[in-house]
Symmetry: C2
Subunit: 380 residues, 2 copies
């Protein structure tokens, strides 16, 4: 690296023009004569000039960066200090149950949304700044979010990753797009990107009733503070009512989106001989936990019990049996979030946007029994 980074002034001098021309040649090349543009391009090349993003942002009043804020509370535990140290050898271990470090709840969901955001920001010539929002206390979190807010044009916030007060604070500074289903009391001044949780779950329930004549349900719910979880339950109830089943009669078990908790609960059901015909879960993780418990108890799926999930994560597909689920367009959620943010930035005073992405009900072995692998996908 040479002594000092070149600036517009250096380029201007090298090319024998003014700094304004240099800036223009970069910003809107058509506004500068081809000859001088050539001159400037050469100078830039010769000096290896790269404009300072900070200065650009400061002068232009926009950064071209969109922030993505997602939290990950489960992750905190394994976060010891990391120090660099050369280790000289490869260890060998017999591996009965090796737990690598990537087993995180919602991991796939977050990863996919993130990837969608990356994709879309890239497509639009923007940059993406990612933040885990890993702080324990609210003060730290607000501070963290504030720092980020100072560096971006807008902030995409994943559901449940910041408390309301922090959100309130952020909204004062930058536009916010929330990735979550709408809270019951409608929006509070930010844009929303969500999936059809309600409709998806309703359709699923109706299918179970109409096709499989299920009239004996149990519902495995997620955490109370998740708007998505809430909307799925609402859809569940709607489905039941539309077929004249009273939702009040259906037992609800809360498993907080957790594999383990769902498994435990199910085992408990088994011991108490309280197994319904169909176990509808608010997400796939829990459905997997339920399946594990049932399989371990020698209960057949779906002959004895039908199990369904929600999300469409990869495990729902690799599990045996594969799990009937409502698949979310996770990556498109990210893309939609970025697109929405861009619209918001172009149009600061527009009404709050509320984007709803469709879901797909995937009927698989955990509800349908054997499915011919030959038959092509069919829309109903």
């Amino acid at each position: 690296m040479s002594s000092k980074k070149p600036t517009v002034y250096d380029v201007a001098k090298e090319a024998g023009v003014s700094i304004a021309s240099v800036s223009r040649a970069l910003r809107k090349p058509e506004s500068v004569r081809p000859a001088t543009r050539e001159l400037i391009d050469r100078a830039i090349e010769r000096l290896g000039y790269v404009p300072s993003g900070s200065a650009q942002s400061l002068a232009a009043r926009r950064t071209g960066v969109i922030g993505l804020f997602m939290s990950n509370l489960d992750e905190l535990d394994d976060l010891q200090d990391f120090t660099l140290s050369s280790v000289d050898d490869a260890r060998v271990k017999i591996d009965p149950t090796h737990h690598t470090d990537y087993h995180r709840n919602d991991s796939l969901y977050y990863d996919q949304v993130l990837r969608g955001c990356e994709l879309e920001t890239w497509r639009r010539g923007l940059s993406l700044m990612v933040n885990l929002g890993l702080d324990r206390n609210e003060k730290g979190l607000t501070q963290l979010a504030g720092e980020m807010a100072g560096k971006v044009d807008g902030l995409i916030v994943m559901a449940r990753s910041v408390p309301d007060s922090t959100l309130e604070f952020l909204k004062r500074r930058v536009p916010v797009v929330m990735v979550a289903d709408a809270p019951s009391d409608n929006e509070a001044g930010y844009d929303l990107v969500r999936v059809s949780n309600r409709k998806g779950m309703r359709k699923l329930v109706q299918h179970l009733i109409d096709t499989h004549h299920v009239d004996d349900f149990a519902y495995i719910a997620g955490p109370d503070d998740s708007p998505d979880n809430h909307k799925r339950y609402v859809g569940f109830c709607e489905g039941l009512r539309s077929r004249d089943i009273n939702p009040e009669t259906v037992p609800i078990y809360r498993a907080g989106f957790s594999f383990t908790v769902a498994r435990t609960i199910t085992l408990d059901m088994v011991t108490r001989h309280k197994i319904p015909r169909a176990l509808v879960c608010a997400n796939d993780q829990m459905a997997l936990g339920v399946c594990k418990a049932l399989t371990d108890s020698n209960i057949r799926i779906p002959q004895d019990v039908i199990v369904t999930g929600f999300d469409g994560i990869k495990e729902s597909e690799t599990n045996a049996p594969r799990i009937t689920t409502v698949s979310q367009p996770m990556r498109n959620l990210g893309r939609a979030a970025v697109s929405t943010m861009v619209q918001r930035l172009e149009n600061p005073d527009a009404e709050p946007y509320a984007i709803e992405l469709p879901v797909t009900l995937l009927l698989r072995e955990s509800s349908e029994g054997e499915i011919s692998k030959k038959r092509p996908a069919t829309n109903i």
Copy 2:
């Protein structure tokens, strides 16, 4: 959102102090009297002030942002224009083989490294900017990378994500940390973070020979331009030589880290009756492809053929049989990269760093046969 974002000047006026004091109260609070600090804090709170990252960076000559550049060439195909459109219903489909959108080569590897970077930047109070580097042509890629370079203090670059010329260009502007094994001709002025590819593969081969008396190998190699792939092959050869087997006699098949190609190649081997005792693959994806082909041909693993991989991705663990592999500390790779970058920034003139992280040889069913799930992990 109120009319205009407040600045230091607003805060200073509100608190009745000078802007210098405001800045100091934020930067080094101990250098300002508690009373005035209180005054300023209140004003900040009242105005909802958040410092402008651009201005801070410009004045302080550092951004506090680290860039992560990773490429993803396979992804380009599914990248159609994305437009927002409200769809009103949930679709239903029977799902014989549903392919969701997250099946990408190296996906898990990248995800984990990314996560490690996030973690470590967060721990150090920095921000992370992510870039897919998805451009097709080199010109665009250099431009993309240049834009990023203008916004960050340093750039972490994943192996094979940018051509050498672009790298050369970047190095002139910002410190670069490369996540990859060393190229054969030693470094070129940037720092390196890598895993013990060579040692890991050597150990694996020695194990196969010593414990399972394998003397008949085939090697499934990755792409030629991958330094990691290269080093793994070197380790493979070392292992053979150390047990008096001539590497020249071992056939090499190139499958470019691809599941499909590896599968095809293996099927071909089967048809030609050229199956060796052990198939050593340069990564897990290929090992999975090999297993698929063998299983479909009713060849038993490991009784008939031993298969091994490299990386330790999740599929290697969920596959049946689970695959013996060399597990990389993927997340720690990311953390190490960030740590190295921080050191580099603190010490611009130090010699190039070269961090090597240890790998773990995981012996599983694809080479060992039945492994008791009860037995705890053992270090040898």
